[in-house]
Symmetry: C2
Subunit: 394 residues, 2 copies
């Protein structure tokens, strides 16, 4: 991927785009913080993704983000991401060329150059990784993603629920092993094959996936997903600086940027973590259940959350307060920093917030593909707004 340093800028000039945002370290740290909050307990360690992106910036490479609706219909975009159990990633730091390798092999298989990256999901690793790849490849990032949250499986995207497919997907590892997966319209099989490849590699893989044209990207993505993450991250950082309540600022930012209501529903301390990890059985996920005992005004109540990389559902004293695909975050009450499923420990304290999923994730097809029944719950989906009466944001 030895393109000239300014080629992202040149590409935008070719497309006639004059409005774009230059992503510097401050910007990427805000976007990554917001994305890791929207990652609903998953998405991996932001330190890893951030360090990677900082390195790309330190090398003098530019990272430019553009509005999806400005992008020509006929261009080729693709997503690049980490796929595997986030808990493994902390022990297996990536080499810098895995993303370029995956994207190059995808270009070879497609017989077409990839001209922009589209982030896969909101996550501490996968959000900044998209920017790092864009900077390395000298191409722009588009202000979209496929989830506006994180989800444990590759097919759980607005792209698939709107008729697109992850195939071909290229999966690589640190040792330059390559697996190309092309399952046509069978996105669940692509996930199975990609997950098995990641396990065979040792738990973690780097993928280039969802090759979409500009037109397909516009019609099926979560538009403005990066801006949403950025607004959330900026709000929480401002709260830290100005000693405001980060949870209030977060909920306000969602109201402003998305015009949706999130809810503060619990505050508690982790008293039990039931992990099921490390075996073939869990098929490459971070799996389990966590219990929190209420503190402050929630004293005497108990919250239970299941997780599969991400939080799946929330029950307080047996009452369901959030179901997938709606978002759950456990946040440090002082800093707004998310407590993730892969690093949480007994005794951690946090505030539990629930947030409505993006409307492109709540279609009937979306509820079928990643609603409660898909994850094995014998429950119909109910929007988080209906599960939490007005004023739930205590």
């Amino acid at each position: 991927m030895n393109k000239s340093q300014l080629s992202a800028r040149e590409i935008l000039k070719e497309w006639g785009i004059r409005n774009f945002r230059v992503i510097d370290k401050q910007a990427i740290s805000e976007i990554t913080l917001g994305a890791s909050i929207l990652a609903t307990g998953g998405g991996g360690d932001p330190e890893i993704g951030l360090l990677w992106t900082y390195k790309v910036l330190d090398e003098g490479k530019e990272i430019l983000m553009v509005d999806p609706m400005d992008v020509p219909d006929e261009i080729q975009t693709a997503s690049t991401a980490c796929l595997g159990a986030a808990i493994v990633l902390t022990e297996k730091p990536p080499s810098s060329d895995v993303l370029s390798l995956a994207m190059e092999r995808l270009e070879t298989y497609l017989g077409r150059k990839i001209e922009a990256t589209i982030p896969l999901e909101c996550g501490g690793v996968n959000s900044p990784v998209s920017y790092a790849a864009a900077g390395e490849m000298g191409i722009p990032v588009i202000d979209v993603d496929g989830m506006n949250r994180a989800f444990p499986e590759l097919q759980m995207t607005s792209w698939v629920t709107h008729g697109m497919h992850s195939s071909p997907t290229v999966s690589v590892d640190n040792r330059k092993n390559v697996t190309v997966i092309d399952t046509g319209d069978d996105d669940v099989l692509a996930e199975t094959l990609a997950r098995r490849a990641a396990m065979a590699y040792g738990g973690i893989s780097w993928i280039a996936t969802y090759p979409l044209t500009g037109e397909q990207m516009k019609e099926t993505s979560i538009l403005g997903s990066q801006s949403i993450a950025w607004a959330v991250g900026r709000a929480v950082m401002r709260a830290r600086q100005e000693h405001l309540d980060p949870i209030v600022e977060l909920l306000n930012s969602l109201k402003e940027e998305r015009n949706v209501e999130g809810f503060r529903v619990f505050r508690g301390k982790i008293v039990d973590i039931n992990r099921d990890f490390g075996s073939e059985t869990n098929k490459g996920f971070t799996l389990g259940t966590v219990t929190l005992d209420g503190i402050d005004s929630y004293k005497g109540q108990t919250a239970t959350l299941d997780f599969q990389n991400e939080w799946l559902n929330l029950r307080v004293d047996g009452k369901v307060l959030c179901l997938p695909p709606d978002l759950i975050a456990i946040l440090d009450s002082e800093t707004g920093e998310p407590i993730r499923t892969d690093i949480m420990k007994y005794g951690y304290r946090g505030t539990v917030v629930v947030i409505p999923a993006h409307e492109r994730m709540r279609t009937p097809k979306g509820i079928e593909m990643f609603g409660p029944r898909h994850f094995g719950y014998d429950l119909d989906y109910m929007p988080v707004e209906d599960l939490n009466t007005a004023g739930g944001g205590v």
Copy 2:
């Protein structure tokens, strides 16, 4: 793969080759019988491979076999085969275009046309399948393979022990799902990935693998492997027609064609089969142990054989009589038909024959990669000739 019908002949003309063998139904049935005997209990149902090849011949396509040493150094060859648990294959008959699809995608990934097929192993399915693919693609088959037996794993070839690699391997299924596996020199990982893909497909995959140049093929293959299988099959068929002892004829044919001594070491009846199949645990193999009680002159003795798709070892009254990579066959004493691990049943009677592996399989690297210790036996390899004193052929 719509090439003109005579292109295999035209290719040979281009290469200046005037000596070749035309493979008709009689020839392929003899080769397949011999290959299924050399398949050492594995290799799958010859009916499936044969029907496929007959269909190709019935469509008027020519199948031509050439001597490896006549082939130009610079041509591109590749192997095509079935990978998975043979027991699944009987329930999942292939569609006719899986091999062409696999080879086409390999050509795309390589950026090069494949000009000849090289059989992977001796087996009831994989031997004729190479001929069928050649016929369909209008290219010749070369008189080699990578084992001169069957083996359960993709990397267990003379090609790997002589420095070649299975990457890139393309794995496809009946529904046109495609996985390209490129692990460089890590052939064990390629096997792991290919096996996982086969399992994800439902147990069976069709692969195009081991892209070798003509020169590499000559230096690392089992030369004349097809001729050996053909000689064995012809001998056993002649024995059936002329009411001779098929075991004697088989052993004579090995002596004539390979100048090696095989041994008739047991005759018995299957009294116990301990199968471990169908679970994720067995990773896509037909696994287990079988026990035979001796009959005739072996009355009172007990033979035990472990299998992983193929027979792995043979013990008679606790004494080891054959270790991998040497060959074991249990043959119907009247017809010489092999009893396979995937279809054997309680009560089957047969004669057990052991045969020295080809010298290119017995190198130190070969013993390391597929000798007794690789399969978990705490035993050094000893050649079958040393384990069975002269005169073992009762």
